[in-house]
């Protein structure tokens, strides 16, 4: 690695941070001055969550080069462990930001553990096989959480694992003043919403620091070597499974943190929300933004999440138009003429980082 390239990468990373910080400041200022209406304000936290989801999935799909279709499963683990943490500690830790931070840490840890367990069988596979198995694990996680019934009272946490569907929240036998946190398939109900846009911003920054530094490090280069040629990487002594696991678990834990933030933004959240469709939605963000392109993931997430809301004027044709826009955008961003045009623009401004060139 020569010094010139090092500075280029560093500059691209710094620009990413600067862009996100400026966007946060601008939006915060607009919010403070009442320039955002309710629906726009309401979109801020989910956008932050989905940005973290997209960036972390990009680590698996773009940097590691393994197609994962179960990313929503990790988000789900993070969401429900986060909600249990925040609701369970309500009387112990009165400060909402503290509980939120702790919930996100617990969410990240739980998702990392699940990611590790899932990774053991999954990462032995390659390509399509790996994609199918991650899909299956995503569904398994959803079904398992559907069986959970959790409540808390002065004695502590009560958990029932409702496998055959015969138990209900009444079987928790909570004492007076106890609270039901998760009602099986109906998900978390009555959650106190403590997620904030600032927390979302901080989470995005942490995600960027982790992902960008991982990519630029020795480990990151090893991970990309595994992506580019597994056999060659293996032959020069890179422990393939270790690096695959590193990227996969990091990705899962970030998704868990995003899930915790998401779960604490809504008073009611069912496990069914984190199904296959959500995994695909995040994958669409990543693919549209460009595999391996962190910046692209962020912008694609913002645009594609806002789009269905912006199309409300079309009433019932809204989702149809959303799909058409998606197809058109995918076609045009892959158009060679447009690609060359953007490449020439980039070289004009002398900003063509090799990262993007290799990713496209």
């Amino acid at each position: 690695m020569n010094m010139k390239r090092y500075f280029k990468d560093a500059r691209a990373d710094l620009l990413t941070y600067a862009g996100v910080i400026i966007a946060f400041l601008v939006i915060s200022a607009m919010k403070g001055n009442g320039m955002l209406n309710r629906s726009q304000t309401g979109l801020l936290v989910p956008i932050c969550c989905y940005i973290v989801m997209a960036v972390s999935l990009n680590l698996t799909v773009g940097i590691l080069g393994d197609l994962s279709l179960g990313h929503a499963g990790f988000m789900s683990v993070g969401a429900f462990s986060g909600v249990i943490t925040a609701m369970g500690l309500m009387n112990v830790i009165p400060s909402a930001p503290m509980r939120l931070a702790l919930a996100m840490v617990v969410g990240a840890l739980c998702a990392a553990i699940v990611g590790f367990l899932v990774g053991i069988p999954v990462l032995r596979l390659n390509g399509d096989y790996l994609a199918i198995v991650t899909l299956a694990f995503g569904e398994i996680i959803k079904e398992l959480i559907t069986c959970l019934i959790v409540g808390v009272d002065s004695k502590g946490l009560h958990v029932i694992f409702n496998v055959n569907g015969s138990k209900t929240a009444n079987d928790l036998t909570l004492l007076d003043g106890g609270r039901i946190i998760i009602k099986g398939a109906q998900g978390a109900t009555g959650t106190k919403t403590i997620a904030t846009f600032t927390a979302g911003f901080i989470l995005i920054m942490i995600t960027l620091v982790i992902v960008q530094n991982l990519v630029r490090s020795r480990h990151g280069r090893a991970i990309m070597a595994v992506r580019d040629n597994r056999i060659a990487a293996d032959s020069v002594g890179i422990p393939v499974t270790k690096y695959k696991m590193m990227a996969f678990v990091t990705s899962a834990s970030l998704a868990g943190a995003a899930g915790a933030l998401f779960g604490l933004n809504y008073s009611n959240l069912a496990a069914a929300k984190f199904d296959f469709n959500t995994s695909i939605l995040v994958l669409v963000f990543v693919v549209l933004g460009g595999l391996g392109n962190i910046w692209g993931s962020i912008i694609a997430t913002v645009i594609l999440y806002i789009l269905p809301e912006a199309l409300r004027g079309f009433s019932t044709y809204r989702m149809l138009i959303y799909a058409i826009v998606l197809i058109v955008v995918m076609l045009t961003t892959n158009n060679p003429i447009l690609k060359n045009y953007f490449a020439s623009l980039r070289s004009k401004f002398g900003k063509n980082s090799e990262k993007e060139a290799s990713a496209s």
Binding site: L15, M35, L36, E139, G184, S267, N268, R312, S315
Partner: protein
């Protein structure tokens, strides 16, 4: 630099489309929220179509209260999309929420509306969780427990000695809620429940396991507190295996005759509990059904009837509370809550509907049976 600029520009553009919330003069703004696209769209569209009819009728009449109505799609999502739809309506200047149509979205939105003091009347969100501990949320339809209790009572009176099997969807607050109270009431009334089978949204295409188990348990009455789409699959598969119990559904069964590619002769003899029958003789129902058919070319279902009644209930409540269109949503909410318990409204889903402070409606449920492709009273 270019990219960061592009992001900021994109964000600014999107967020600059902000429209300030404005309160109309002279008309109340009612927002409708429900699934207008996706698998549950039939419910949302039925409610919104019928609500539009009611709004047009009121605006054409000499009533002092006039309405403006807007419907937003929540895709029956219980998370971010439900809140997005609600926020969009609030930006529009909504003063009263007619909805959400489905329980899942309803629980999410009702919690938010409670914090912000927006009055909401759900036409068909029947979960108890929707109205629990929220003084601002009222229902037009029965709560799930009421349907469970009414069904168990009906069995005790009309099917004495029957062996009952229940198949319900346990990832659905609606289905689970009815099942819970049904089983409790059945025990109290001495109705014998011999089998309980569950399924989820993902497994709602094959019921052979549950049906075989129900038959092996000797059940001759199958209670289906579920929506009609999975119920149609159950009817088909039971028919294929030659299992012929009496089927009994609740209000979600309403619509079974409209399922595409479904042999409606299989639904002959199916009982269901519903507050609305399009064949009813009274003038109000006849006029509503005729108008709905004229506009949308189909017989209104029970969801439509609930939506139609909801608009008239809102009107009655606003009149009783002496609300004026220039009042804020929170002021209307505080004014309307105390009068809701004093109202008595006649609608197409029941005569003399009254409300408890909890938000539950009180009206007589009615069991009907399907005969020759039509609803008749048994």
């Amino acid at each position: 630099m270019k990219k960061s600029l592009a992001l900021i520009l994109a964000l600014t553009l999107v967020f600059a489309l902000a429209a300030p919330a404005a309160f109309a003069d002279g008309t109340f703004k009612i927002g409708g929220q429900g699934p207008l696209t996706g698998g549950a769209a039939i419910y949302g569209n039925a409610v919104m179509n019928a609500a539009q009819i009611a709004v047009d009728e009121i605006n054409a009449s000499d009533s002092a209260i006039k309405f403006e109505f807007q419907a937003q799609d929540d895709e029956a999502d219980s998370g971010d999309k439900a809140i997005n739809a609600y926020n969009t309506l609030m930006d529009w200047g909504m003063q009263i929420l007619l909805g959400p149509v489905t329980s899942g979205s309803g629980i999410t939105v009702a919690a938010q509306a409670y914090d912000e003091r927006t009055f909401l009347l759900t036409p068909s969100g029947s979960s108890v969780d929707l109205i629990a501990d929220k003084d601002n949320a009222f229902q037009v339809c029965f709560t799930d427990p009421n349907q469970g209790i009414a069904s168990a009572d009906y069995f005790a009176d009309n099917f004495a000695g029957a062996k009952v099997a229940v198949i319900y969807r346990n990832d659905d607050a609606y289905s689970q809620g009815i099942r819970d109270t049904f089983v409790k009431e059945a025990e109290a009334k001495g109705v014998s429940v011999v089998y309980e089978g569950t399924f989820t949204d993902a497994t709602s295409t094959d019921f052979n396991v549950q049906l075989t188990a129900a038959r092996d348990a000797g059940a001759d009455l199958l209670f289906l507190p579920i929506y009609y789409t999975p119920a149609s699959v159950i009817l088909q598969q039971a028919n294929q295996m030659g299992y012929k119990p009496t089927f009994f559904g609740v209000d979600g069964m309403d619509g079974i005759l409209t399922v595409e590619n479904f042999d409606t002769s299989l639904a002959e003899g199916v009982y269901l509990l519903t507050p609305f029958s399009a064949d009813a003789e009274d003038a109000r129902t006849q006029a509503f059904v005729a108008e709905y058919q004229k506009r949308y070319g189909e017989i209104p279902n029970q969801f439509a009837a609930d939506g139609y009644d909801a608009v008239y209930i809102i009107k009655a409540a606003l009149e009783a509370a002496n609300c004026t269109p220039d009042m804020s949503p929170a002021d209307i909410c505080e004014a309307v809550i105390p009068v809701m318990t004093t109202l008595k409204v006649d609608g197409v889903t029941g005569e003399g509907m009254t409300w408890a402070a909890t938000g539950e409606v009180s009206k007589a449920p009615m069991a009907i049976v399907i005969k020759d492709g039509a609803y008749v009273t048994p």
